[in-house]
Subunit: 593 residues, 2 copies
């Protein structure tokens, strides 16, 4: 080793010991006849001291050390006269006798400090420098710990970690696949898995009983800031279980992870049906860190001559507590504009302001009497100082719009206490989802999800309302308004699986070509089974109150799916294309030679 | 849960308890007025009993249960009159009161027993049934344990598990890449990593200090029976270390894995230079489970008129102990034929047989006196009953041929005791390897490997002999004649890395285009670093005395790179090809629509 200790471990108990440290120069500065160097590594920072009186040449060399130089220093641990209580090593310093420069460094393109001056692009390109910043390093270390603890919990519960293949078969269902041309099978392609779904079910048929894997998954989607083309899942499956068993096991995992990595005790997780989540929060992943449940006003607000409400399928509102006097007409106008943007698409916003002096102000004051507006207030439990926000229109869209407004108000008025974690199981998802574009049903979760036993009969109906009513044994784990996990009990019966494929518009031939192996497996003693997958990147981010997963991935890609550091993807050689029997059709780009 | 206990846990201490089990019917048989069902799951087998006198209908239903039916049975634990000492649950049985068939099963295409009648192809196709066989299931469970213990050891040593990307950039160096067309960047491709080599080095530059990952790697090579297009590595890298530190850390890992998963204590691992390994065993991965070191006979055997020896660069032999009287002329003839096959390519085989009666018989008896042959025997320490096998010719080839013969004799004469493990560090590998075909140097390990400090000056030579002499800080871990790990100290200096690329025939532009990001990183304070990677599939196999890795992979591919179960690779749709700006040129195969 180039060192006897790391830069975070020396204490007063080491006083008098001769030690060797190695690391990066955070800063070097002269002061009187002394040179001080802060030496940094993953574990901490230790102060090195060079004394002009003792060794002038050494002291001069130390003064010339640039930022990020890699050095090795031998010296004696001694007590600092000027202690630094903010640093675990702050009681000591090293009186250096020997200095070796292991590698120099050019001046970094941005400062490697907590508050860096580097822009996003620059920091992505020099990711290895960005990763030296303490906050980013801590996130990567947190992720490593989270993986270790996840595995510890699951292994102790009898789960086997079993690796499933990355080179599998493309299936048109779901998101777009990344494909991999096969040289040995010309004209044929592998696909990278969007999840190991069918393989983990096969493992249950194989009798593995409890499976998990922390596994990379791939989706070729147009990227948003919080999506990555490759992402990581904690993927699990269990045999001989009901939904209740899975919920208990993974509620246990989540509590365990919070306890071991953040020392936070989470209470038992509440549960809410999908229908209730939409009705009360307009979202299947409600953020419960603040209140503002939806209340429906159809009975109270219809039939008073306000045609917008009278014609609406749904009138629904939320109550913001105590902000009436902070809200001017300008505020309401801004919120209305915000709601009218195409991303949200609301037609307008109705507000009712219960002012501090007891008076009521409302944008629909001319249609409703003060008494009527007061009755709305009572319905919401509103007091002086509170404001009602009311939207109306087609039920589903209106709920979605109000959900966006609810989150916006929470952000605007700081309703979310930092460090608070509110988990929620959303259960009883519908089996099917009607897709207007393709005019057919999609699987809400995926095509292997089991309908609830009592709803199986409904699968024979041709009434769209009956079909929409089929509930599945499917569940999501929501944390602070983010979906961090989702799963279901699976179908384990060939006939039921065939029935489901048919509902989803698969021909018999398509179903057989794509999932014949799975349906075949169901004929040889498939046990009842179910599972769940946690988005690992997102879990790490949400557990630290972060909205973006990118900082929790060592080498993320940008929104064009590009790795800025290695500059991938890139052209490949003509020879490689020929070996794969491929030609690229892009007229503007030909493969490099 | 569908069960209160699994099929492996009930004992006499549970006597009298009402329990529910679920699992697969191993066999159902009637005997007198009773039906016995062996119920199986991952954890074991428990005997269920149905009594005709108690419930005739139930007993009849049990008798009709087919093999591999999935059932649930409730009943009372009771002592068996006829105990089965071979089964952990053999003291008890379940007196069944309720039976539920959870799923039926067609008759499996092969028997799910230890000795199955299913051929390779059939068992690959129905992998989910093959995986139900105890021996295969144990291998997958062993692998899971091996991963858990590997992570435990490395995490305790301060290693961080950091995930590196799977969608990276293709580099022509090394084996052939699998590539992934990018839809968002038309005409460009990602590549799947052959190893996370450059990323783990970047992590060292980023200050992560100790990295590991159990990670999938991909190589598009023509497959042999023990190769897979995707395979798993325990991949590691450490900063501020010398070769000695890495050897100690991973010798520790190997000992720990043997101790925890197999309860075997390995002593300290011997070390051998690459040169010695070739000189003494003709191989850089010698199997030390048996003796038979090479001895060179040039001094003793040349100049006696046997032109084959006189003209040879090298005469080298091995001594087989105590088998002289088992070996007829026919045996020698067969071995000679075996050596002459094109795979080995030897010209002939010389033997000297020291017979039990003290006489000597040799295929070169007419060129050498008995005294001369006796002196060879003394040189080898041969006694009556021993046989010398001698090959001659060009040095390198002859050593390789004799190495093959050494392994063949060990197999033929059962020289390898089962359950014996002989690890060995092979060190001081050459930096470069001359490739006759391309008439240029290849990196023996990889282009990032550091030459030994004292050999760096030799890199400036143009003398091929001097260049061949450059040793690297590169090492392999060999176990029972299999390479299970290999690594090196890396170059961390831009100028030295450039020099190495130049030796390997890279132009400056090629080096910059492919590895510019790494050389750039070396300019910003790269610490000295090095690492190692273990072949995880092979480690699992070799630790269990198995030659093939396939049984240790849940879903392996066949020699055509095909997943027989899901039938991948396969055609993709015209639409998918269009989105990727691709065309397939294979005239016989067009993409499916």
């Amino acid at each position: 080793m180039y060192r006897t200790h790391n830069c975070g471990e020396l204490r007063m108990s080491h006083e008098g010991e001769t030690v060797t440290l190695a690391g990066w120069v955070q800063i070097s500065r002269g002061f009187g006849g002394l040179t001080f160097v802060d030496l940094r590594d993953r574990y901490g920072i230790t102060q090195l001291v060079f004394n002009m009186d003792e060794d002038a040449e050494l002291c001069q060399r130390a003064l010339k050390l640039g930022r990020e130089f890699v050095i090795q220093a031998e010296g004696v641990v001694r007590e600092r006269s000027n202690k630094n209580a903010n640093r675990p090593t702050g009681d000591i310093e090293i009186d250096v006798k020997t200095l070796t420069i292991l590698n120099g460094s050019k001046t970094p393109p941005f400062t490697i400090e907590e508050n860096t001056d580097g822009g996003d692009e620059l920091r992505m390109k020099y990711r290895y420098l960005d990763l030296r910043r303490k906050s980013l390093q801590e996130k990567i270390i947190f992720r490593s710990e989270l993986a270790i603890e996840s595995r510890k919990y699951l292994a102790e519960k009898g789960f086997l970690e079993i690796e499933t293949p990355y080179l599998i078969k493309s299936t048109p269902e779901g998101a777009r696949d990344f494909v991999v041309p096969s040289r040995m099978n010309p004209g044929q392609f592998y696909a990278l898995p969007q999840s190991p779904q069918t393989f983990k079910q096969i493992l249950m048929v194989a009798g593995m009983d409890k499976y998990f894997q922390i596994v990379r998954c791939f989706r070729d989607e147009d990227l948003r800031s919080d999506r990555q083309p490759e992402f990581t899942q904690i993927d699990c499956e269990m045999a001989f279980v009901h939904q209740e068993d899975i919920l208990n096991t993974f509620e246990g995992l989540t509590k365990y992870l919070f306890k071991t990595t953040k020392d936070i005790e989470l209470g038992d997780f509440p549960r809410m049906t999908y229908d209730d989540a939409l009705r009360l929060y307009g979202s299947d992943k409600p953020d419960l860190r603040f209140d503002m449940q939806f209340k429906e006003l159809n009975d109270l607000a219809k039939g008073h001559g306000f045609s917008v409400f009278d014609d609406a399928e749904l009138i629904v509102g939320i109550c913001l507590k105590g902000k009436a006097d902070d809200m001017s007409n300008k505020t309401f106008k801004q919120l209305t504009e915000w709601l009218k943007r195409p991303q949200i698409g609301a037609k307008g916003l109705v507000h009712v302001k219960f002012q501090g002096d007891g008076s009521i102000k409302s944008s629909v004051g001319k249609f409703y009497t003060a008494e009527q507006l007061q009755s709305w207030g009572s319905y919401f439990g509103a007091k002086a100082g509170d404001v009602l926000f009311i939207l109306s229109g087609e039920a589903e869209k209106t709920r979605t719009q109000l959900s966006a407004l609810r989150l916006e108000l929470a952000a605007k008025y700081d309703l979310i206490q930092p460090g608070v974690f509110k988990p929620l199981w959303v259960i009883d998802f519908p089996l099917l989802e009607w897709d207007e574009d393709s005019e057919r049903y999609h699987a809400m979760h995926h095509p292997f999800t089991s309908p609830k036993k009592e709803d199986i009969v409904k699968m024979e109906s041709s009434d769209r309302k009956v079909l929409a009513d089929i509930r599945a044994d499917a569940y999501d784990l929501v944390l602070n308004g983010s979906e961090i996990g989702g799963g279901s009990i699976r179908i384990h019966d060939r006939a039921l699986q065939e029935r489901n494929f048919k509902l989803l518009g698969f021909s018999e031939e398509e179903a057989e070509a794509q999932f014949g192996f799975l349906m075949g497996a169901f004929e040889y003693g498939a046990p009842p089974h179910g599972g769940i997958a946690f988005g690992f990147d997102r879990l790490a981010a949400v557990m630290n109150g972060s909205a973006s997963i990118r900082d929790y991935i060592a080498f993320p890609k940008n929104n064009q799916g590009r790795d800025m550091m290695i500059d991938a993807p890139a052209g490949i050689s003509r020879e490689q294309l020929d070996e794969l029997y491929l030609d690229t059709k892009n007229p503007n780009l030909s493969a490099e030679t």
